[in-house]
Amino acid sequence: MKMAVEKALLEQARNGHESAFAQLVDMYSEKTINLAWRLIGQRDDAEEIAQEAFLRFFRSLAKFRGDSSVGTWLYRTVTHLAIDHLRRERLKRRIFFFRSGDSEQADPLDMAADPAASPQELFLARETAGRMQQILNNLPAQQKAVFVLRHSEELPLKQIADILSLKEGTVKTHLHRAVKRLREEFSRTKDDSL
């Protein structure tokens, strides 16, 4: 049903109907912004990346054959834009000692807090989550993308390989390395708290 609606909107958008394109944006905006946010961690930048992805989609409407769904196309574009962004930010941090992160933006650690937990439990959970988040933020861009797409977006590795234009074996290796770092940090955090 959804595919049929999407196909109809796509056809109308190609014929220049602005409202049809706006409806497509509305259908995918939350997923696209979420993906960008999970990849880069900054809400404002994530919205810019999502916006850029939609603008690129708009420009390629005439050529869009529909071999993949609009969602898959957007996922691919957002992931590539996010990877480029992460690489630039990483290099900027090394060259210019930039501090990334805006403390006023939504903090996923706050959003994940368990209201039933004791203050001590909350503190420990937050401490651990913060360290894990730090490790995630420091992963190489492609490794992080693979991890986010598998762990948070729950895409199968085959689809991730297609999105990133990588071999499935490479994707598996990236996932393994990312998880290995997270596991090592988690063990270290547990040892420190004892």
Partner: protein, 150 residues
């Protein structure tokens, strides 16, 4: 955990994410029954992944409408004729060329007295340009990964 004796951490990761085929899954399950090291490894892996905060941004309809409006406005900006843009760029280029020809200052005797950009500023500008080179960024990331592998 090494690959000897059937212990393979990568397989544990793939098992956790249900990415093994039927045969591989059965082999690993059989191995887990006899290998406490791998069972512990799997538990630690699962605990560490559970510690990662879930990222889930929920947008209300106003926020979605606002975002959609921005995207649509962006398509309209880009749809406008590019002739004024090119015309403006050409005019600016001509003005700049003329300015350089007519107002070309003599080089100062003492370079220390320069009030223009310092060498450090120019170096920073060059480094900013590096940020646009996507191939370079990709190569740097690859080098970092190799460094991590030792």
């Amino acid at each position: 955990m090494s690959k000897k004796n059937g212990c393979d951490e990568k397989q544990l990761v793939l098992f956790h994410y249900d990415e093994l085929n039927k045969e591989q899954r059965q082999q690993l399950q059989a191995h887990l029954e006899t290998c406490s090291s791998c069972r512990t490894g799997l538990e630690q892996l699962q605990a560490s992944l559970a510690a990662i905060p879930p990222y889930n941004l929920q947008l209300n309809q106003d926020q979605k409408n606002d975002f959609t409006a921005r995207v649509v406005a962006g398509t309209q900006r880009r749809s406008r004729s590019t002739l004024p843009t090119w015309g403006g760029a050409l005019t600016a280029a001509c003005a700049l060329t003329l300015a350089v020809i007519f107002f070309n200052p003599a080089p100062p005797a003492d370079p220390v007295m320069l009030n223009g950009p310092t060498l450090a500023d120019l170096e920073i500008l060059e480094q900013f340009e590096l940020l646009e080179d996507l191939e370079l960024l990709q190569d740097l990331e690859l080098l970092e990964e190799l460094e991590d592998l030792g």
